[in-house]
């Protein structure tokens, strides 16, 4: 599967260059060697560090990363070289997470530390000197030569924190214990850490003008609350609160209001806020069913063609077919993540896997839905594909955690099977003879 992905990426890279400048790229061999080496390292590391993990997710992520790289290289060679470095960093972090956390539960121990870290990350862009406004939102942090968007990492930290708190208190949160009039309501102190964390991050996001990320966090919290407790009221409450916050934001934040105007009346705002979305549409329309072919289109016309609008750039050159393939790849990753969640025997792992999978799925929807005008456009990145170090590295970390959970499941399942086998040899008769080997194989070092 990995080989297939490498062939696809290499082929696409060559074609894009052929289409653009009419020659095979001069660096095709080093490029392929580098891609091959990076993916091989990631693959071998995964097989050694989490041998039972889902085999599909890493190749899919590598494919998305590869396709994204080809398009970034096609749009801006300078960005491409940065993206290559970020890919290497991302894979290093991927391996780092697998090494540092041999079991997913290890993450749970540091939940308050992680939550604090997440909140600090979110506050960072507001700090004087190091924070920076880009495109009306204050999302960036400058530390020496490195610029990054801390919210990309904060979302993982919050997912871990929410999952751990909810795993502990799911039952408490599911049933009201305090009576107000006819209604049973929750003991406020059970919810306090969650609401507190959520409130802090929302306030920060409003201060930073980032609607896309606040929507992502909101979905994460509300989704996890519902999955953990089964209370539909949380969904309704969450939706209501978000709408309220959105209406409030429209009044207060000019940036948000112009985005909504561009969403409702893009043609009327063609010269200003609607320009990007319409150019994105022109790109998609030019692509049609099969696309113009790699390197054959003009995605550079769209502002932010390599980051927020890379989805439209790909749509122009790979067409509906290419975008559908991309959507399917995301669905498969999200599906694999949720399958791990279902298989997981621990509430924490289950909720964490659910949260991280939903983060990825919803993020794809927010980007693609924004570009296709299903929802207002917000500037967030397409996981693994968009240009941007923070996005790429954080998504590799997210992937590592999902794979870690998936590996845990397989090991625990094997262990459970083994326990059953040892406990009841009579039930299985002759098969029991093979069981010790099976156990050592699975649980062994």
């Amino acid at each position: 599967m990995m080989v297939l992905v490498l062939a696809l990426t290499g082929g696409l890279y060559a074609l894009a260059n052929l289409g653009r400048v009419g020659a095979l790229p001069a660096n095709i061999v080093p490029f392929l060697v580098l891609v091959f080496a990076l993916m091989l390292v990631a693959h071998v590391a995964l097989r050694r560090l989490a041998p039972q993990a889902d085999p599909v997710m890493l190749p899919l992520a590598a494919l998305l990363n590869g396709v994204g790289y080809v398009f970034i290289a096609r749009l801006d060679s300078q960005e491409a070289s940065y993206q290559a470095i970020w890919t290497a960093v991302g894979i290093a972090c991927f391996i780092g997470v697998l090494v540092a956390f041999p079991r997913a539960v290890n993450l749970e121990r540091y939940r308050y530390l992680i939550a604090l870290g997440g909140i600090i990350l979110l506050v960072l862009p507001l700090a004087p000197h190091i924070g920076q406004d880009i495109n009306g939102a204050r999302l960036w942090v400058h530390l020496g030569p490195i610029n990054f968007q801390p919210e990309e990492f904060a979302k993982i930290a919050l997912a871990i924190f929410f999952a751990s708190v909810l795993a502990e208190r799911a039952d408490l949160l599911a049933t009201g214990t305090r009576r107000i009039g006819r209604w049973l309501v929750l003991e406020p102190r059970y919810l306090a850490p969650l609401v507190g964390a959520w409130g802090v991050c929302l306030l920060i996001l409003l201060a930073e003008n980032d609607i896309g990320s606040s929507f992502l966090f909101f979905t994460l919290l509300v989704g996890l609350l519902w999955v953990a407790t089964g209370r539909w009221a949380y969904l309704a409450l969450g939706a209501g609160m978000f709408l309220g916050a959105a209406v409030f934001a429209l009044d207060v934040i000019h940036h948000a209001e112009s985005r909504v105007q561009a969403w409702l009346h893009p043609w009327a705002h063609f010269a200003t806020s609607g320009y990007q979305i319409i150019e994105g549409w022109f790109a998609l329309a030019a692509g049609g069913m099969w696309g113009l072919g790699p390197g054959q289109g003009n995605p550079q016309i769209i502002p932010e063609a390599s980051t927020d609008f890379i989805f439209a750039s790909i749509g122009e050159e790979l067409g509906l077919v290419g975008l559908t393939a991309l959507l399917i790849a995301y669905l498969l990753i999200v599906g694999s993540g949720l399958r791990s969640a279902v298989r997981s025997q621990r509430s924490f792992s289950k909720l964490l896997a659910t949260g991280l999978s939903l983060l990825m799925g919803v993020q794809v929807f927010v980007v693609a839905g924004g570009i296709t005008r299903l929802i207002p456009l917000t500037g967030i990145t397409l996981p693994f594909v968009s240009y941007g170090g923070s996005s790429l590295v954080s998504n590799y970390i997210l992937l590592a955690i999902l794979l870690r959970i998936s590996d845990d499941n397989a090991r625990e399942q094997a262990l459970a099977d083994a326990v059953v086998l040892e406990a009841g040899p009579d039930l299985y008769g002759p098969v029991a003879a093979a069981s010790p080997t099976a156990v050592t194989q699975v649980v062994g070092p």
Partner: protein, 496 residues
Amino acid sequence: MNSMNRRVRLAGLATCLLLVAVFVQLNYLQIFRAGALDNNPLNTRNIVLKYEQPRGAIISADGVTLAQSVPSHDQYKYQRVYPEGALFGQITGYYSFIYGTDGLENEYDAVLSQANASVTFPTDLQEVKNFFTNQPAPDNLHITVLARLQRLAASELAGRAGAVVAVVPRTGAVLAMYSNPTYNPTALASHNQATEQKAWKKLTSGPSSPLVAAAYRQRFFPGSTFKVITSSAVYDHKPSLANKAIPVLTGLPLPDTANQVLHNFAGEACGGKLLELFTVSCDTGFGQLGLDLGGQNLYDEARAFGWDRPVPLDLPGVAESFFPQPSTFVRNGGALAKSAIGQESVQAVPLTLAMDAAAIADKGVIMTPHLLGRVTGSQGQTVTTYHPKQWLRATSAATAAEVTKLMLSVVNSPNGTGVAARIPGVQVAGKTGTAQTGGPNIETWFVAFAPVPNPQIAVAVLVENQPIGTEYQGGTIAAPIAKAIIQAYLQNGGKP
């Protein structure tokens, strides 16, 4: 645990539905609305796409590249260049991002653009590459104009305002079509908008724009060259007039006017039969012939010779020559007499006069004037070839033979006005024209064809803004240019 799993699955389903919604919306945008979005006037993508593609070359009949696309290393990939610059500017036209196209670039846009390239089986690495990248090399346009004749026309005009048009009578192929002032299309094809705008402003700010080519987009008083058509009308409508002796006069009193008199050039006295009138270009005599013929006959003859109708030359914006409606001559004999000698409101496009000379040369038939020779594919194979077509029958072969005699006399008679066009060993038929413009300067003309009896080239030469002199300046200024063109063409027996 189980109920939680159920909710995880539901969440998965919800995510799935969200992405399906994106998929549905993508179908709407990329398939159902794609056409409307592609054609939206705000969409610059198609224009940019077009400018990114190589474009076919335009090549003269003698193999000189007049326009071609070269790699540009900027965002549009290809730059249109015009190696011959201003010499062919009014024929090739321009290919401009801001101002669109003109000339052959406009007329044969479909041929030159890559989208319509003829597909051939790839035979080398470049072709294979093009095949895979969906870039068939575009077809090339070969035109009938000879660069050497065009160059000669430019050097003979020597910067004077005017025009030279040369055609092959038998086919209508344009051999040379040059006029001053002309322009170099290179700046208009620049990818730098400021350069384009500056060039455009310069080309359109003057009193007469070089974009309006004198050779095929402007009208001038034809003067005595119109006597070719008046004479043809005599043979076609009232042959008896050809042998009528017109009284010798210095001035012809004009009917329906307050004692206006039409004077001969330089106050000369002339008269006699048609041959004598034509040889010396007798204005009083032709004024009288015009009155005898009547407005309707003159108008019909002019129409037959391609006046007052669109000219099917394969270029955009070709002007029509103008001859007044017969009704305007009712109780206005003065206008009729003046129109018969190419004055009053009669106006000719140089191209039309060349076609009229060609009509006499080709036994009364006007072939469709054309620049297209053939279209070749990227490997040099001929894709299409132009086949000559008749445009009009101007007059009968018999009339054409009679008028040819008149025109030979202009060059061959000792008292002819066109003796300057004589070429040793070649029978040249011609007619001078010296038109008053109402201003201090005159327009000088010469129309000719050669060699009689099997003409291979017909020419119309115009030199504008010449000071009034004492001689028939059509003969002294324009005729030598026509002679040079004819001589140069016939030297190689018509071969490039």
